[in-house]
Point group: C2
Chain length 366, copies 2
């Protein structure tokens, strides 16, 4: 069984390691010779929009992608020769902030008010929305807070749009939320859906710093509603693989932020904390094998290592911690690895509560 | 940090995967282009007794080996350029059944009576030992029951030695044991020693079939004595890395069977069942990093997949099971992978007790 993966970053790397373990041969496509996944997978050196892609991946049994902005046209072409999961249609929605918002709104999901900006007329229409703050986001690009600007005044909106080179954008009204959560699900080839426990996330400067499994959020009314919504998304898209949906918790109500049609940074702790990791279940789903259990086997917290790699000798001394590095060259704001800390130790190391978790995130990842 | 590994089988493969995760670059040496570790490590295609070995591995920070019969002369030569852990001296003892027995006997450890056979005189001296059965084993080679013959009569001894081509052998008097156990330890570069929980093992035809973590054996008098013995072995050898010692339990007394200067098949479940796996701790030790915790986080059982690979769809349906395949071509008696089953499920699937565990071993691995 051979799986092709568009992209060779850390997500592809962790997919590749899980693949080897269960007898699947991973092939990655990445234009960089030193791509993180290249050391643990068969590496096809090519641009992601290479028109020869269908031929390059024709020996694969199924193809998937590890990035937010997968080249949908290429995936469409590949799909004529090899099954692609999740479907190109799902990537088309997730890669287009405007379609994504409308998709969720059409499903009756709570989303922040949003406005498409693509010309002077739509700009002036949106201007009235900037009364108590909003966020201007590139419609088709951006990740980890890139391609996003906070807007506080109507005049600021014009300046922000100019700064984003007047590319198509979505203006989202700012939400005053209590915390951020994500819900990861997997849908198998036979339509079976499984959920991991909800995850509480802490960002800084738009980049995820700390995630913690939160079984307590599983069966609250908001948690149940979120599962129903994500199930509806999966069914509507005929989705196969892992899907991550991010939420803002506003007084116990969860408002959809965005989705990612792939394994997700906030789910990395499933490797240590759940019966089956997001990586293995994504692979099981897309090759048509039975899904593995998603129950938490122990509560875990994850700390991203960003910008610089801490001295291994220091990190490895943290009791029960498990270090994951991606083999990347350090650079500002670059995700270089993560650390999984079991909850019992988490308590010792973080004290309790999000502030301390974020503080650890800062200390370890600077 | 770069680690060289002599051998590219499944042990090297699991070491390599653990290495990538903690930021260590694995290089393997193996003469086979399709070696299991070759897909997840930098692969030096060379015979293990290649006289150029020191040069081939000169860019490594430390060198280790994954096999029982590591080429000691080659490791000695490598050690002039790069540190080798465990030391060539340790491999020299473990690779020589006679020295190994004497080494344990010198430490005051209980071992089965044994006799060196290398000529007619030693053969006739040993003959008197075969009154209630013995086992003739090649002195310098053999693994997984290969190079071993059961001897029931004095005449049978001559025939058995002829069958082993009259190579130097050790005749071990048969022990009527209740069960087999192994104790895995790791000693760090700073001399710190840590033990995983004892493991109960079930062999058939000389090949390990099923292992189960046995925390109950940790603090019995025999378990404590075994820890003291293994500590003495580690200290005596100035050992750095993971060491496995196998025991026979005879009425609550543990008699030493043999040792392996490497990560060990019976310890594979440490990946899922312990704070830190044997693979990661071996690497941490040999590069001089702090050791990780060895506490059991959940009891586990391991079933070897031997000779043929069961249908993944069947195996992946076992609740909570984790499949590990090695990427090897099936062949009779070849270890192709293993399955980790958490104890709670273990109880459901195996009933309780060793007999059922062995039965699962038979059913799954045929």
């Amino acid at each position: 069984m051979r799986v092709g993966i568009l992209g060779g970053g850390q997500l592809a790397r962790m997919l590749a390691m899980a693949a080897h373990r269960i007898g699947i041969e991973p092939w990655i496509v990445d234009p960089h010779a030193n791509a993180p996944a290249g050391r643990v997978a068969h590496h096809i050196l090519a641009e992601l929009d290479d028109p020869e892609m269908p031929g390059l991946l024709s020996s694969c049994d199924v193809v998937t992608a590890e990035m937010d902005h997968a080249p949908v046209g290429i995936l469409d072409a590949v799909e004529h020769r090899v099954p692609v999961h999740p479907s190109p249609a799902a990537f088309a929605i997730a890669g287009d902030r405007f379609r994504e918002k409308r998709f969720f709104a059409d499903l009756g999901a709570p989303v922040a008010p949003f406005h498409l900006i693509e010309d002077e007329r739509s700009l002036s229409r949106a201007r009235s929305a900037v009364t108590c703050g909003a966020r201007l986001k590139s419609r088709f690009e951006g990740y980890d807070g890139k391609g996003q600007l906070v807007v506080r005044t109507p005049e600021g909106l014009d300046a922000a749009w100019a700064e984003l080179n007047r590319v198509p954008c979505v203006l989202e009204e700012e939400i005053d939320f209590d915390r951020e959560l994500s819900l990861l699900a997997v849908r198998g080839g036979d339509g079976e859906i499984r959920f991991w426990d909800p995850i509480e996330n802490h960002h800084r400067n738009g980049i995820l710093r700390v995630s913690a499994t939160s079984p307590a959020d599983r069966d609250t009314p908001a948690g149940i509603a979120a599962r129903e919504l994500v199930s509806a998304v999966l069914e509507r898209l005929g989705y196969v693989g892992v899907l991550a949906v991010e939420f803002f918790d506003v007084g116990g109500h969860w408002i959809v932020n965005e989705m990612a049609c792939r394994v997700h940074n906030s789910g990395h702790a499933t490797e240590e904390g759940a019966e089956t990791s997001q990586f293995e279940n994504h692979l099981r789903a897309i090759v048509g094998w039975p899904l593995g259990g998603t129950r938490s086997v122990r509560p875990t917290a994850m700390v991203n290592l960003i910008g610089s790699i801490p001295d291994p000798e220091t990190v490895l001394k943290i009791p029960g911690a498990r270090l994951h590095l991606y083999g990347k060259t350090p650079a500002p704001d670059r995700k270089l690895g993560h650390l999984i800390v079991p909850e019992s130790e988490h308590a010792v190391w973080l004290g309790s509560g999000a502030v301390d978790a974020v503080r650890l995130g800062s200390e370890v990842s600077r």
